[in-house]
Symmetry: C2
Subunit: 473 residues, 2 copies
Amino acid sequence: MNWKPNRSSHLSLHIQITDWIKERIQNGEWTVGTKLPAQRRLAENFEVNRSTVVAALDELTADGLIETRPGGGTYISNDSWNILLKNAQPDWDKHITESIHEPNYHTIQLINEYEQDQDIIRLGTGELSPSLLPADAIEQALQSITLQPRDMGYSEPKGNKKLRSVLSQHLKNRNIHASPDNILIVSGALQALQLISLGLLEQGSVVFQESPSYLNSVHPFQSAGMQVISFQKNEEMQTKLKNYSSRKQSIFYTVPTLHNPTGSTMTLGERRHLLETCHSLHIPIIEDDVYHDLLFSHDTLPALKALDESGQVLYIGSLSKTLSPGLRIGWIVGPQPVINRLADIKMQTDYGSSAISQQIAAHWLQSQLYEKHLHVLRSELEKRAQFMHTLLLKYFSDAASWHKPTGGFYIWLRFNKPIVNKSLFLRLIKQQILINPGYIYNPHDQHHIRLSYAYADLAEMEKGLVILKQALR
Amino acid sequence: MNWKPNRSSHLSLHIQITDWIKERIQNGEWTVGTKLPAQRRLAENFEVNRSTVVAALDELTADGLIETRPGGGTYISNDSWNILLKNAQPDWDKHITESIHEPNYHTIQLINEYEQDQDIIRLGTGELSPSLLPADAIEQALQSITLQPRDMGYSEPKGNKKLRSVLSQHLKNRNIHASPDNILIVSGALQALQLISLGLLEQGSVVFQESPSYLNSVHPFQSAGMQVISFQKNEEMQTKLKNYSSRKQSIFYTVPTLHNPTGSTMTLGERRHLLETCHSLHIPIIEDDVYHDLLFSHDTLPALKALDESGQVLYIGSLSKTLSPGLRIGWIVGPQPVINRLADIKMQTDYGSSAISQQIAAHWLQSQLYEKHLHVLRSELEKRAQFMHTLLLKYFSDAASWHKPTGGFYIWLRFNKPIVNKSLFLRLIKQQILINPGYIYNPHDQHHIRLSYAYADLAEMEKGLVILKQALR
């Protein structure tokens, strides 16, 4: 018994003693029936007060691990081994904290959690309000879907052939010419990023992004060990790109149309500049185009992919922002070896996306259901955008600035003072208001809130903004 | 011009020269209009024959990068920069080969590819025949599904609440008591493994498995940098487990009921022994139970999870083997902090599984549709198993051995001689027969084929086995 408790440990002395005795039982050193030394001896050995030993023994007795026998003396109880065995859980906490994938930011975990609360006003949600989702029409359309038994099996690696053919047609509207073999069906744009991260980048690769960025709120690249480098808008790209990309493989992530979270859209000049810069440095581009169909004006600019002559752009689209996030259907367009590779990894990840979701998607895109729905949806969103803009003029014109939206879901509200921090976020939750603070898109940002006019109804928007204004006082 | 081509390179001399000149143009050393040295000078400089220089210059001329001007002399052409720019694709091959995720085995890629060929006979497929999938009934059931708009949005992190409640009930049949909060909905069992790999294991962790193993045919752990250690059946576990697991975090993957690929089922004693061994070493267990519902006899053994008193077992179930792979619906059951963690990563991976698939799953499990379907399915599979067994007796009784199946899809056919190799696999493909060779489940195995009686129809089974027999001569 040379062991002594450690006086500088954060664990109290009696707990250390309890643990030490448990260990002796567990590793078989003190078997059932072993008689423990007297309390005084133990106290001397451990160099602690006798009261500390008593506290430890009381705990072990309460746990059933030791027992006092008639005639005196303390013994390891008959049941001790079973009791310890039963309590010996794997150390899940250790498993969790030491594992590979980063957890979501705490703020985002809270957002995910509080979004389940039906009474909370969601001022920042990147999701259409249930009232804007065509659930009835989807339900109705289910009845015109014919399921071939073959379609209910495992899918082809690239996804349902019919859906890929329909998408090949659909993408022509965007001036993108892609054969079905150049298209991979995925379960939403986030999965597309995950597959690119695992299947096209060596460990330690550099992922360039504009700041603020949606990518900061998710971790498909960071968790695979990539280095994420942010650009400020208008920053000189050429040199920075060259410096970083010469060391490692790299890729540029961008949302050129209706950027998340800022809502801005690149000019044609900016698009050409980005393409040429990346081209000359052999840096592939990920074009995230999931908001495009929500532009209020028909005056759309070409996708980077439509300007791409060398197969350097991987194009991502999705139905989550327009038709229904619940379908979990998106797509990647790219050169065939790249699509083959990503399909191979998709097969190793989840064996393909839901067959029924793919059927529904094909049906909606092929019939005019999707276009008709978009028509209604855009005008609804535009009304909401106008309303939120008016509210902001009414309540925030002296404290903040913003651009009037040209499409999508968001207003990137900039406060004159750096007041958007976690404490504000938490205070608002207590008042049943959920915001998306700017710091989840750029950790150094304390000026912005991403407002969304897509989720809350008009009355909630006003109520929410009024409470926000009060909270800022 | 100190550079000289490398004579030990696998690239021919004239290609090396062509590349070197292109590089000079690209990096701006030789600008438009630069006059090239005479052919003789170049040949001297590069220490090559003049004909080699001519071949290189011819190629550059054909590409439009250099031009001969009237009056003699060869110059970098006006168009050279544009031409190089246009051709400068990102080096996708490099991106693919250096990236993180391992590709599927070539044999599995071929299986994935040839499974799309409707005329091929699939003797090994781990999937129900379309004729056994209740596509009509699913189609019909679509009409009794009511879609709440809220359900068509992003799902709760753990998945649709109704489905989790229904599963909580359903799991009681298997003597597993799990609240909806202890259940995570995933897109099939493979995704469950992926999430566990990313969310519960430190890099370099040890994953134990029985050999042969389904895990060898997919790479959810290997691709994340885990070390996979195989056990032979009956091998002494205690010491081996202790040696490896003391160095790193570890986890044990097992399919105790209707094992893939062998079809075997652990006895109650084996289950207890595995649980206790892992328990005493604090090694968590992944129990993959996706074939259980296909046991021909009602005489089922308890799941490891049902025997687990310390929360050390993560239990995986799925509808892919019983109802439809196309739904992409499975589940993980485990302690709440573990399920919370995996849900958080699922949200960061694909924002949840298809809402409609989840609705369908809940409907089938809750109504008696699922149980009724199982009843029919099991008896169909048993007939098929009996038929294949009879065929094997007829054609292979002198060349191979096997166990009569007690459920599921597979017969693990063992040939007396080591004749199952890639060449056999490829020869059979030419004859329109697709097999799952044993070496995809254990790289050293040349004795086994995983036969499946779930996919091919009876006539195809016989035709396929006859061709297999001939191919082995």
